[in-house]
Symmetry: C2
Subunit: 157 residues, 2 copies
DNA sequence: AATGATCGTCAATGATCGTGACTAAAAATT
DNA sequence: AATTTTTAGTCACGATCATTGACGATCATT
């Protein structure tokens, strides 16, 4: 029983930090000319290749349903972030291609997130921050593996 | 600048870890006799005093709207986790009081989360894990403060 | 007693998510 | 070559969840 009574638990902390980072990211993006993108759009934008990606691939990468990818793509088309082009390699498929506006958004999002991390790297020192992020990555990997193992052990549908 | 190219960003990582922890928590809770509680119910259950709490306080503690607290409370009443009692100190207010079932759920949830943390404490060593969690807490605190400051700087409603 | 603030709820809306069914095209099988 | 099976994207529908405005009842303050 080591950690009992040591402040908020890991689930609470990660949830709070995620929401706070999301808050700064989208607030700053809005200030930088992208007021219409929401966390929801990340399902498409965050996994988009510069040359275009098929909806099925985006669905697999993001873990969301095809239906949702389609709806989000509709919205991003309307907002001028992506266009749909037929896939020359497969006439069933359509490539979802980022516009310059989307490339700008992605670049700015990366810069904002990098700036957040730089802030903590400077505040804590590179050593401490690197150790922190390495551990966070390691724990995340293990926890996701635990969940996959638990899901695999459950009765199949 | 600093962290570029070093794997997934902090927002992605915290989101993934939060979902993974939530997955184990509620999967295990279901196995331990609480199959009907969802993350959503945490808005009420996680902030409930043993002697009962008013909806407004739960709203303030959880950051959710009163309306949501009311809806979740309705559902928890139906599931047998809480009851509504008039607040003797204020005839407008009602105390949301946990039943034994809710107390059991909260205790089990705490134990599951503690077990998760113990797992990483053992895997990483107490020193590394303690340093990790301290840093996580510190970063979360700072990031939340950043967001509050940004929200305060925005034009008032 | 009167005024404004607070407590919990009702109602309506919008945003988001999930499921099943469908058409067209590709891939696999006979 | 013809047929079956699988895959890609979309349509339609319902379920869940968050947000907002309003309301009667009660409290606090003047």
């Amino acid at each position: 029983m080591g950690t009992t009574g040591r402040g908020p638990d890991l689930g609470m902390l990660t949830g709070q930090l995620m929401r706070a980072i999301q808050g700064e990211l989208f607030h700053t993006l809005a200030e930088q000319g992208h007021p219409d993108v929401s966390p929801r759009h990340g399902t498409v934008l965050a996994f988009l290749d510069p040359g275009g990606t098929r909806a099925t691939d985006l669905s697999a990468r993001s873990g969301q349903h095809k239906q949702i990818v389609g709806t989000i793509t509709d919205e991003l088309v309307r907002l001028g972030y992506v266009t749909r082009r037929p896939d020359p390699a497969d006439r069933r498929a359509k490539l979802i291609v980022p516009t310059d506006r989307a490339l700008d958004e992605v670049a700015k999002a990366r810069a904002i997130l990098a700036a957040i991390e730089d802030r903590y790297e400077q505040a804590l020192g590179a050593d401490r921050y690197t150790a922190f992020k390495d551990t966070l990555q390691q724990i995340t990997r293990h926890q996701r593996a635990w969940n996959e193992a638990a899901a695999a052990a459950r009765p199949a549908t």
